[in-house]
């Protein structure tokens, strides 16, 4: 163990850490509205609707295959279809494709977890289906989405490491490069792990804070 070398690596891994952060945050920002929106839509569609079938197939594919396969699909199939994207956006696209699939389930579960009595009460008061959903159900469901979505962000950070395989120079790829140049894997991997862990851990602390705020911020009672 060589502390000086480790400090050096710590600094050298900062720009790739920035790329990892950018990838996962941009992917989250794009995937969350998409996934939660589609998940909400899914609760509104009857099970036999073609839209439900399509969404279920998409979720089934995303949850049943490794993210590596999804990255390959984006990396190889887009150019084959004549679409050229910069590597960064290919990476983001793969992450969004993956994460949106998981977030459909988050959105759907949250909407479904709101008590049926809420629907019944709104209907009894003469509100339409759409207005009930938007004005009463979604605001209650959103609180239940916050935790799982923050957790999804940690998953995205970890998944972004797989983008090293398509030579995106993010934290893991950069660490591999330093290892193969210096042959000092222990030091480099500890520093790399430290960065990932701090990033993920800081986020989960932040998530707990946000969740605590949301649940204590009064207003709607927990309905089960």
């Amino acid at each position: 163990m060589d502390p000086v070398f480790m400090l050096d690596v710590l600094a050298r891994l900062l720009p790739p850490l920035g790329l990892t952060m950018a990838l996962s945050l941009v992917a989250l920002v794009l995937a969350t509205p998409l996934g939660l929106g589609l998940g909400t839509l899914r609760t509104m569609l009857p099970d036999r609707h073609w839209g439900s079938w399509l969404l279920d197939a998409y979720v089934f594919f995303v949850r049943g295959t490794p993210i590596l396969i999804q990255i390959f699909a984006v990396y190889f199939l887009l150019p084959a279809a004549g679409i050229r994207l910069p590597l960064f956006w290919m990476g983001v696209l793969a992450l969004v494709f993956n994460s949106a699939g998981y977030q459909i389930e988050i959105g759907r579960a949250a909407i479904n977890s709101v008590a049926t009595a809420q629907w019944e009460a709104a209907t009894a008061l003469g509100f339409g289906r759409r207005q009930t959903l938007i004005d009463f159900i979604v605001p209650q469901a959103v609180r239940r989405m916050v935790g799982p979505v923050m957790n999804e962000l940690s998953q995205l950070i970890k998944a972004s490491s797989v983008l090293s395989i398509i030579t995106l120079y993010e934290l893991h790829k950069a660490s591999e490069a330093i290892i193969s140049a210096s042959f000092r894997f222990v030091e480099v991997l500890i520093v790399e792990g430290f960065w990932y862990f701090s990033f993920v851990y800081a986020l989960s602390l932040g998530a707990q804070l946000v969740e605590g705020r949301l649940s204590s911020a009064g207003g709607l009672a927990e309905s089960r």
Binding site: T65, P66, F72, A80, I179, F185, V186, G193, Y196
Partner: protein, 216 residues
């Protein structure tokens, strides 16, 4: 661009052989992970404090870093401490570590979600602490452990795709090199996806059946 069925069937034998490797790696890792998780979880809850801290730290750290980093670490660390495994067993070791730490958390939270009365009653009847956990609380927690555990085991199967970086000849590695050998892209990626869907699907069906038996 039409679908090339000929190429699809030409690569099939190689990908099927790779699928066998994926299944072998996954099943071994899952078995080892399920074997070590309950004792580790119990050690984390009621062990002497150095053990508690150690297991807790291991679980937190491994859960906070990508599986790819764990694989890299195991890949470099095993030879450094004198254990020279081939790619396959290195992969099994790495996936066992990944699977086990998540399973430890599942087992722990399931046991902790049981009513306190169970534990108090057992201790009041004079059961030793560790027997209370192993023989009374763990079996009761099984019903709650199984659904999230299935999810996690599916993640281990999916993480086995990452072993392609340490050249284990599983589906992703073989598929990737087939793409570069044959330049058949669509057919190979679709076939890889189907194979994974089948493997993960089998696990889900198995665990549903097990869940139903436990429910009775």
């Amino acid at each position: 661009m039409s679908f090339d069925w000929k190429a699809f069937f030409e690569v099939m034998p190689q990908l099927l052989r790779a699928a066998v490797v994926t299944v072998e790696v996954s099943v071994l890792s899952l078995a080892f992970a399920c074997l070590v998780a309950p004792p580790l979880a119990i050690a984390r809850m009621i062990g002497p404090w150095p053990v508690r801290v150690l297991v807790g730290a291991l679980v937190e750290v491994v859960r906070g870093i990508p599986p790819l980093v764990v694989i890299a670490f195991v890949y470099f660390a095993l030879p450094a401490i004198g254990l020279v495994f081939d790619g396959f067993w290195t992969g099994v070791t790495a996936l066992t570590v990944v699977g086990a730490v998540y399973a430890v958390e599942i087992v722990r939270s399931s046991i902790e979600s049981l009513g306190r009365g169970q534990r108090e009653a057992a201790l009041a009847l004079g059961f030793p602490l560790w027997r209370t956990y192993l023989e009374l609380l763990l079996p009761q927690a099984m019903k709650r452990i199984l659904p999230p555990l299935t999810n996690e085991l599916a993640n281990v199967i999916k993480a086995s795709a990452l072993l392609s970086v340490i050249s284990v000849h599983e589906i992703s590695q073989v598929g990737h090199s087939l793409i570069f050998e044959t330049f058949v892209v669509v057919e190979i990626i679709i076939q890889m996806a189907i194979l994974y869907l089948i493997i993960v699907g089998c696990l889900t069906v198995l665990s549903r059946a097990l869940e139903r038996r436990l429910a009775h």
